[in-house]
Symmetry: C2
Subunit: 237 residues, 2 copies
DNA sequence: CGCCGCATTGACGTTCGTCAAGTCTAGTGG
DNA sequence: CCACTAGACTTGACGAACGTCAATGCGGCG
């Protein structure tokens, strides 16, 4: 049994291999515990932050899945990513001390609130943390390069295949099945992320089913032939 | 006449309002001079760095324009951005100590080489520098969100209008004309960036000319009606 | 002067978006 | 527990936007 007042410090968090403390020594780990000021629960459909709000903290996702979206002046919106346990959101707010996108919980979620000035302070002293913060931001830049490649040069099938493989891969890294996903987002949200309309997402999924590459039951997706999906993306030979 | 051995320190660089030293106090400015190890000239069509190369430095562009591009396994490539004087490139390399995109000079160019470990070292001591490095990375993330919006939800005309306005805006911030651009990139490169084929870029430009919004003579573009272009992007009313 | 890369333009094809109808599911309240 | 509803999803028919293929023009560089 765990004690009643369960202090969920980074040092004892089961996400420490994925999240903020990656690559830190035990003594550094203890110092990083100071970063997490509080935790915050966010209910399904609620926002963690919205575009225009003052930026003060980064958030480490403990449980649940978020989407981030940017909105144009005319109401068009674009989902810029889906984030899950161990991932850090809020980096967009640093430039202008103001968030430029919305983060919406796709299911009940919990995050660790990490005041950014505290992060900066500590990363002046703990080089491993400094390094890690830089890496997190760089990783996000590289991820977005990948999305740009996807949006700029892939066709619907390739985009969806890449999306499914990416999702299942990240879940697998978190100890979930290598070939099963329960989608936390609607077809429309997937479409927005992939630059497609929801009907195209639906049709393309149906096509994958028909060709025996995946099985779909509502939001439950089972990857039957991952290699075939991979081949879709990289037309080998 | 300037002295023969012109030491181009950040503190005396005419890009200091745009580049690395933004927001630093005079005394901090002197310290930041240590960051720039060397300068490097890159000829047109040559690369500053390539995907796979070991990452060691960030680069501040002094003169010239670069494109960055990512390449998929099957050879497809996507231009992820065009960078000009005062902008910082190489951020993609931080995550894995290895570059993940190519930076190609679109014209003869010169960059300041800033070894990243030196940046990290100094930004532990100079808080304003630390802040600024974080902002630069965050700005890049936000910029890419904008590109994702463009690629995911805009039509050809809107994409090209956004591209032209963005380009002319950045040039204007550097003291160039508010309405004239000499494109340093081909139609194909513009297309790759915008997720369009070169023919579509050409046709759309022609359409803009026909409708009196721009004048085009080869790579020389003159924005005649910026407001009309802006209206294309944000269908006001 | 001649070549080559870049750009333009046209005709046609494909992919994806639009519109619409209908089904299914999960959540709600009686 | 069941009926009801609203949102989510699927599927089809059609059309628009953009890509593909091809011919031609043009301008800069050697």
């Amino acid at each position: 049994m765990t004690p009643d007042t369960l202090k969920v410090a980074c040092s004892s968090c089961n996400l420490r291999e994925l999240c903020m403390p990656v690559g830190l020594q035990p003594d550094e780990l203890r110092r990083i515990d100071e970063i997490v000021a509080t935790r915050r629960k966010v209910k399904r459909r609620e926002t963690l932050f919205r575009s225009g709000e003052r930026f003060s903290s980064l958030y480490a996702i403990r449980t649940g899945v978020f989407k981030t979206r940017v909105m144009a002046a005319d109401g068009r919106d674009q989902v810029t990513g889906f984030q899950m346990a161990g991932e850090i959101i809020g980096l967009d707010g640093i430039v202008n001390d103001q968030h430029t996108c919305d983060a919406v919980a796709l299911e009940d979620a919990e995050v660790c609130v990490m005041p950014f000035d505290r992060i900066e302070e500590l990363s002046r002293e703990v080089t491993a943390l400094q390094r890690h913060v830089h890496r997190i931001m760089s990783r996000e830049i590289v991820r977005e390069h990948g999305v740009m490649l996807l949006l700029g040069s892939m066709r619907a099938e390739e985009r969806l295949a890449a999306f499914l493989l990416n999702l299942v891969g990240r879940l697998h890294a978190r100890g979930f099945s290598r070939d099963e996903v329960v989608l936390r987002m609607t077809r429309e949200e997937i479409g927005s992320y992939l630059g497609l309309k929801l009907e195209t997402v639906s049709r393309t999924l149906s096509k994958f089913v028909q060709e025996g590459m995946v099985e779909v039951a509502n939001r439950h997706v089972r990857i039957v032939d991952a290699e075939a999906l991979r081949l879709l993306i990289h037309p080998g030979n």
